[in-house]
């Protein structure tokens, strides 16, 4: 007998249960991370800082060779009280944000041109490939010479460093769109523009985020290095000053701030990613 009940296997019911299912959103259906895993990170950081502090106080003793976390905190408080740190953060932050936003949009535009037009690909391809691999940061002094010591020279340095991962990832993302999906969309009557906006672009979003994460890292480095070469304010400027004066706690204020910024931004992009692409973060049915 091949009646319904006996052939109804594999969780593919001919008549699904009447109770309305609840969709799995976010990680409600994914494995929960146990609390002990979170505490492992906290313990690692706290323990590391403690070891650093102890080593600085009792083993090395000289602040010139090894500054300690408490000294860095003191230096930070001093800088904030003098209204200095705020000024540097504002300068670097402005350069970073303007440069990054320009790089992202320019990168998507150029990547789109390369993915959709053969001639654009041939014309731009060699330049992108060459400049992506070149440490363009090395020409920062030249750009400061051209564009002056104010923020715009730094913005330019940020753009020429951060734009290439965006271009490459956008192009790769648009190209990697599943051919079956494009074919299906065309059968449903999608115009070329509809295929782009409804199929290619959404399917490239994960690549855009990957490009953005790389761009953020490169942009941070670009801001600091450009400021080292010539500036009047910024975390790179602070770094150069501290380094010239052999003021190690001051130097580390910049370094720690940059590290924290990098962490926070990466986390932020990840959060936006999960918010924009819930389908990638829902449990797969097996």
């Amino acid at each position: 007998m091949m009646d319904r009940a006996s052939t109804q296997l594999k969780g593919d019911p001919a008549i699904p249960s009447q109770a309305a299912p609840t969709p799995a959103t976010g990680r409600s259906r994914a494995k929960r991370t146990p609390a002990s895993l979170y505490w492992t990170s906290v313990a690692s950081v706290v323990g590391g800082l403690l070891l650093w502090e102890l080593a600085g106080r009792f083993i090395v003793k000289k602040a010139l060779f090894l500054t300690t976390p408490t000294q860095i905190v003191e230096a930070t408080i001093g800088l904030v009280a003098a209204n200095e740190l705020q000024r540097h953060i504002a300068a670097s932050g402005t350069e970073f944000l303007i440069g990054l936003v320009i790089a992202i949009f320019l990168g998507i535009a150029i990547g789109f041109a390369m993915a959709s037009n053969r001639y654009a690909k041939r014309a731009l391809g060699p330049w992108v490939a060459a400049l992506y691999a070149t440490p363009t940061i090395a020409i920062s002094p030249l750009i400061i010479l051209w564009a002056g010591i104010d923020i715009w020279s730094k913005v330019i340095v940020v753009v020429i460093n951060a734009v290439f991962p965006m271009i490459i990832n956008t192009e790769a993302g648009l190209r990697s769109t599943d051919k079956q999906l494009i074919e299906a969309a065309r059968c449903f009557g999608c115009s070329r523009w509809q295929v782009f906006t409804k199929v290619s672009l959404p399917s490239a979003v994960p690549f855009l985020f990957a490009g953005m994460k790389l761009a953020i890292g490169r942009a941070l480095v670009a801001v600091v290095v450009a400021e080292l070469f010539g500036s009047r304010a910024g975390l790179g400027f602070l770094l150069a000053q501290a380094s010239d004066a052999f003021n190690m706690p001051l130097l580390f204020v910049s370094v720690v701030l940059l590290a924290v910024t990098g962490m926070v931004l990466t986390w932020l992009v990840g959060a936006v990613e999960r918010w924009l692409m819930p389908w990638r973060y829902t449990a797969e049915q097996d």
Binding site: M2, T7, Q8, L9, K10, G11, D12, P13, A14, I15, P16, A19, A20, P21, P23, A24, T25, Q180, L181, E183, A184, A185, R186, C187, F188, G189, C190, Q194, K198, V199, P202, S203, V205, M277, P278, W279, T282, A283, E284, Q285
Partner: protein, 262 residues
Amino acid sequence: MSAKLSVSNLHKSFGDLQVLRDLNFAIDEHEFVAVVGPSGCGKTTLLRTIAGIETSDSGSVMIDGKVVTKPGADRGFVFQQDSLLPWRTIWKNLIFGLEVNGQLNDANLKNAKQLLKLVGLSGFEQFYPNQISGGMRQRVNLARALALNPQVLIMDEPFSALDAQTREMMQLELLRIWQQGRKTVLFITHQIDEAVFLADRIVVLGRRPGWVKTTVPIDLPRPRELAVKRTAKFGAYVDEVWNLIENDVRASISEDAQAPVG
């Protein structure tokens, strides 16, 4: 009675390779026609031509006597792979065809809701495709094609990626859904028993170039249950169709074996 879908004298070559040669067949309204053929019978080209995204060298595809020149809402497609957009929920996938054809009105949306119920997926609107099983995804694909209320439903090996048990259930489901409105169906498959089970008529294609060898009417009572698959008459139909394409299948296998790998 004039044909709902007619394919007349279709020729197509890609360079030196002739893919379709004088292909002719017609499907009447409310008729369920299956097309079977060995690999190399030009079914992909045939499908793209019917879809209106490929142009033939000569001959024509007509729906209700009107020549097909571009994609349109008069044809609904169900594909072999799962062609749902992974970033859209089931509901958003379901109304994709309506959306791109500018037909998102209340009546159509209400109809879409009904279709979701018809395929047994009410309550799954907010799920993403990766959260439901392969069989369920193909139900959504079917509902998506039907949401446009097409004149002809074109199915391209819709169940080939499913496991054998799910496939049998889906065949049964398809017949159940088809009985409701008896849409005109063109069903392309490699599986002969699937074609015999579903169709009123089987168009058998020959290979390289593709041409219509013969048409086999299937005289089995409807509605059909899976038990019909174990009747002698069913077996006789399967044998008949298999004998028609056996030599072609052998030829295609030996050709594949000789072709350089990669």
